[in-house]
């Protein structure tokens, strides 16, 4: 039992009760979390563990760089497409391929559609049950629920008492059947749930509405990429050729009907964000006005690469500009350069990997990954872990750091950076939401205390979804304008043939993935992938400790959070889910040296 303070300022106390949550559910992939809870039921130590590893970069070695997008896309089926996009950007960067404007706009629309879809599904289907109690919704008065709906989201058409009564009846019969399905063994009598029955009923209703609507949003991917999940991408542009007004345009990938179809989906996204998602988040948040904890690293150090330029290849036009803020100093936004070997580095001394010198970090272009699964100092056996030892290796996730600093990534980081850098749209959104929150909660809080919390992380995600649906409208209009101006090119095939490539080259691609800044680093030699590395958002957020002892964002957000019942992880899940963890993304990492181990282990 020891008390220590980490270099990034968190007091850790390993005394008290140790609580293990494995699996952490309602996330993508597999994760374990252990916390120490003191006698006041406050979390004093947290240990987050990625519990899966797939080794995708080893698999990529020696393959055609033009195929890489499909492999890395399968890192994650939830944020589907963002790894593919990052991959084609990295390959194009390495080979110096510039894509046509239409391809840029179509890729932007696919990326923003993903943001909206992912954020909506995350909030309603992965995160909502941390805030909303469906059992409690049975006690609601449908008339009062209707009033609440008209107060918080007056423009949403589904607001009649009869509508809510129908949904309530359906939920009641479902719960009364005794077969609770996904709601089984939930923590429904835990006082950590704060909503009124009416708010619960409204939220459950929107859980079902969102489930119906999310399948509409992704049809934008289906038009441009052929399917969802896992739409198709192309190095050099997009595969969907444009034929607006010519011979056989009906059978072409993109024509007027297809673009109108996309527009209809964009309008649905915008309406849902404006009328349902944002009002719901604000309404729910107002019931948790006294639970504004969990800011963690998000209240201190944040990072993003910057995203959504209005002019391709011009970072200065980013609509969500990137950078790094350290120690909550919003006046000093530093630049992040993914090519600089001193900026992004990964450490492994607490990860189940091996480096020759584990006190140092490695830049992704020079990364090494050699699996080294070792739980010898943990409680339990090698194949039955009871309690991990956070002073030894304890996760399949590496620890990436920016110039040695632990930083948080994600919508909250992007919004912090955009707000600090004076992006008007973002500032207006934040001010409006703060005012709405205060009005509903009867408080008088500023932007920081609301944003720098579990609630704030969830709110920033909703605001980003709304921003993206507005940007989607702009992108669609820009695409039409560009086609109207006579440009119908969708792919640059000049360097498609590997014989046109340099003998050796390297590139980097960055994207604003739903969970935060995503980077892929590639080295190409003789037309084949020599080394491939991904540093993904959940690697940043879910990272274990680094050699200096800094803790990552998941662990930081839990420190100091009080829990109602130590044995029921409602608050822990709520805090962790506010990051939208994506474990399959974070734990695939592998590189150059990888193949040796493979030959030793497999053959």
């Amino acid at each position: 039992m020891s008390v220590t303070t980490t270099p990034n300022g968190y007091k850790l106390d390993t005394g008290g009760q140790r609580v293990v949550i494995d699996p952490v559910t309602r996330i993508e992939g597999h994760m374990r979390c252990e916390v120490n809870v003191d006698s006041n039921n406050v979390i004093t130590n947290a240990v987050s563990t990625g519990t899966m590893w797939r080794g995708l970069e080893v698999i990529l070695k020696g393959r055609d760089p033009r195929d890489a997008w499909a492999f890395v896309e399968r890192i994650c089926g939830v944020c589907t497409g963002c790894h593919a996009l990052t991959s084609v950007r990295a390959v194009e960067d390495a080979l110096d391929i510039k894509i046509p404007t239409n391809a840029f706009l179509i890729r932007e629309m696919m990326a923003k559609t993903l943001q909206v879809h992912d954020h909506v599904v995350h909030f309603y289907h992965l995160h909502a049950l941390d805030w909303v109690n469906p059992v409690n919704a049975l006690k609601a008065d449908p008339k009062a629920t209707s009033k609440l709906q008209q107060l918080t989201g007056p423009k949403h058409p589904n607001s009649s008492p009869g509508y809510f009564r129908d949904v309530q009846t359906r939920i009641r019969k479902f719960i009364e059947s005794g077969q609770l399905g996904p709601f089984k063994n939930g923590y429904w009598d835990n006082p950590a749930y704060k909503l009124t029955p009416e708010a619960d009923l409204m939220a459950v209703t929107h859980y079902l509405e969102a489930l119906d609507l999310q399948k509409e949003f992704v049809k934008v991917h289906t038009v441009f990429g052929g399917k969802n999940p896992h739409p198709n991408y192309l190095v050099g542009g997009v595969p969907c050729a444009i034929n607006m007004d010519g011979d056989m345009s009906a059978g072409a990938p993109l024509n007027m009907e297809r673009l109108n179809f996309v527009k209809a989906r964009i309008d649905e996204m915008k309406a849902f964000n404006d009328n349902v998602y944002i009002p719901d988040v604000l309404a729910i948040a107002s019931f948790y006005k006294k639970q504004l904890w969990g800011g963690g690293l998000g209240a201190k150090s944040v990072m993003d690469y910057g995203a959504y330029p209005t002019v391709n290849y011009d970072k200065s036009t980013d609509q969500l500009p990137g950078g790094v803020i350290l120690d909550d100093n919003w006046d000093n936004v530093m630049e992040v350069d993914p090519r600089d070997p001193t900026h992004v580095q990964e450490f492994v001394n607490h990860s189940w990997y091996k480096y020759p010198d584990e006190s140092k970090g490695l830049h992704p272009w020079d990364g090494i990954t050699e699996p080294n699964y070792d739980v010898s100092s943990a409680k339990g056996t090698r194949t039955n872990i009871e309690e991990l030892d956070e002073n030894a290796k304890y996760s399949w996730i590496k620890a990436p750091r920016w110039k040695g600093h632990a930083v948080e990534v994600g919508p909250l980081s992007r919004y912090t950076l955009a707000y600090a850098q004076g992006v008007e749209y973002v500032q207006e959104q934040v001010h409006k939401s703060v005012a709405a929150f205060n009005a509903l909660a009867g408080t008088d809080l500023g932007a920081k205390p609301i944003l720098q919390s579990t609630t704030g992380r969830t709110l920033a995600r909703a605001l980003e979804s709304q921003y993206c649906s507005d940007m989607l409208v702009d992108d669609w209009n820009a695409l039409i304008a560009n086609i109207k101006a006579g440009d119908t090119a969708t792919a640059n095939m000049e360097k498609w043939d590997p014989s046109t490539w340099p003998k050796e080259c390297k590139g980097v691609g960055v994207t604003a993935a739903p969970r935060g800044g995503l980077g892929h680093w590639i080295r190409i030699k003789d037309g084949k992938i020599e080394n491939y590395q991904c540093v993904v958002p959940t690697t940043w957020n879910g990272s274990p400790r680094d050699p200096a002892g800094n803790i990552g964002a998941f662990e930081a957000c839990l420190i100091g959070t009080p829990v109602e019942r130590a044995e029921e992880p409602v608050e822990i899940l709520r805090n962790l889910h506010s990051f939208d963890p994506c474990l399959a993304c974070s734990t695939h990492v592998m590189s150059e040296e990888g193949e040796e181990i493979v030959s030793a282990k497999v053959r």
Binding site: D22, R26, V121, L211, T222, P229, G237
Partner: protein, 362 residues
């Protein structure tokens, strides 16, 4: 055993009239490609069947199968979850976590032994003692085997559970194995629904068929439901006339790409891929990869990651060098043999000439 409600009872309780219930049944019959005479049979099945408990386990995967599942339009995912199945364990959507979640597995095994369905998404790795996929501190392998001993049947969702998929691509660093090859898996019927991911409506239709007809759909030799996997994408592709006419996209975004010609020459694997993409299509029939201008990458086929570039028509053959295909290997071999023949012919001619001279001299 607790009283289990039938599908019909659930629908009635939820305020659905008998009339719309019957309409639902005939639509189900139509969507399954059955004649209208099947509608009463479906109605009867749904009136008498309890909601089927399902344990949906996740191994090494990317969750694309679950994501696809919730895209289902007919039936809607919410109707499947609320009215058709009892999805008691699915770590992607379930409220409970940690030991409250794991307790559900044991409870289901006790309460519904031999009665529930095991749905597997992803697969189990065997390297690192199985600990590159940990659930509740233990290898996922153990959970998979334990649940398989007590289930009624197994659905292998997607290419991971059916074939191995991306983590099993060469060199398969974690030694991930599909469900049917997993050491210790119980000898239960396995229905493979491959695809990365499978089409949403295919997933829900397989479930609906099993509930409605109380039997496993007819499977082909590789264990896939014949109703969706008996034809290649090529066989029903809307661009097939262009293939037959010899009209191909030569390069992306060329004149022919804009006319929707056949993508065969830019690597489309439609001719070798068994799936329903060209008939049922994706996301409520909105489109499918070929319509959106990219060739099929063959994601429902065994080992599709290791058949060479997605943009080459012919498979890569790694045994013969870094980058070669059947034509290069065969052409090279034929050239070598041809060269050898020429040399041999020349040598023969010389020998003949010299021996004739010898004879002349003698």
């Amino acid at each position: 055993m607790a009283k289990i409600e039938t599908f019909y009872e659930v629908m009635r309780r939820q305020g659905i009239t008998r009339r719309s219930f019957l309409k639902y049944c005939s639509l189900t019959a139509a969507s399954l490609g059955l004649s209208p005479s099947f509608a009463p049979k479906i109605a009867h099945a749904m009136e008498t069947k309890p909601r089927l408990p399902v344990l949906w386990l996740h191994g090494l995967e990317c969750t694309c199968c679950s994501e696809s599942f919730i895209r289902s339009a007919h039936p809607l995912a919410k109707d499947v979850i609320l009215s058709m199945l009892s999805l008691d364990y699915d770590d992607t959507i379930m409220a409970a976590a940690g030991h409250q979640a794991e307790a559900i597995i044991e409870e289901t095994i006790t309460k519904y032994d031999g009665q529930f369905l095991l749905a597997v998404e992803g697969n189990a790795p065997l390297n690192q003692d199985g600990m590159s996929m940990i659930i509740a501190g233990k290898p996922f392998s153990e959970q998979l085997n334990r649940v398989s001993q007590h289930c009624k049947a197994i659905i292998s969702w997607g290419s991971c559970a059916s074939w191995g998929c991306v983590q099993a691509a060469a060199p398969n660093p974690t030694r991930a194995v599909p469900t049917h090859k997993h050491p210790g898996i119980a000898n239960k019927p396995i229905i493979k629904v491959p695809g990365c991911p499978p089409i949403a409506e295919v997933m829900t239709a397989v479930i609906a068929y099993m509930i409605t007809f109380e039997k496993i759909p007819e499977l082909d030799r590789q264990g896939r439901p014949k109703m969706f996997y008996s034809q290649r994408i090529h066989d029903k592709c809307y661009r097939r006339p262009h293939f037959d006419a010899g009209q191909f996209v030569e390069e992306f975004d060329d004149e022919y790409a804009r006319k929707g010609y056949c993508l065969y020459k830019v690597g489309c694997k439609g001719p070798t891929t068994y799936n329903a993409c060209s008939t049922i299509r994706w996301n409520e029939g909105t489109s499918f990869p070929i319509q959106a201008g990219h060739g099929c990458i063959g994601c429902s086929e065994d080992g599709f990651w290791d058949k060479g570039s997605f943009y080459d028509r012919l498979s890569g053959i790694h045994q013969f060098g870094i980058e070669s295909n059947a034509d290069e290997v065969g052409g090279t071999a034929a050239a070598i043999v041809g060269g050898a023949v020429a040399v041999h012919a020349a040598a023969s001619a010389i020998q003949r000439a010299t021996s004739k001279t010898d004879q002349g001299d003698s």
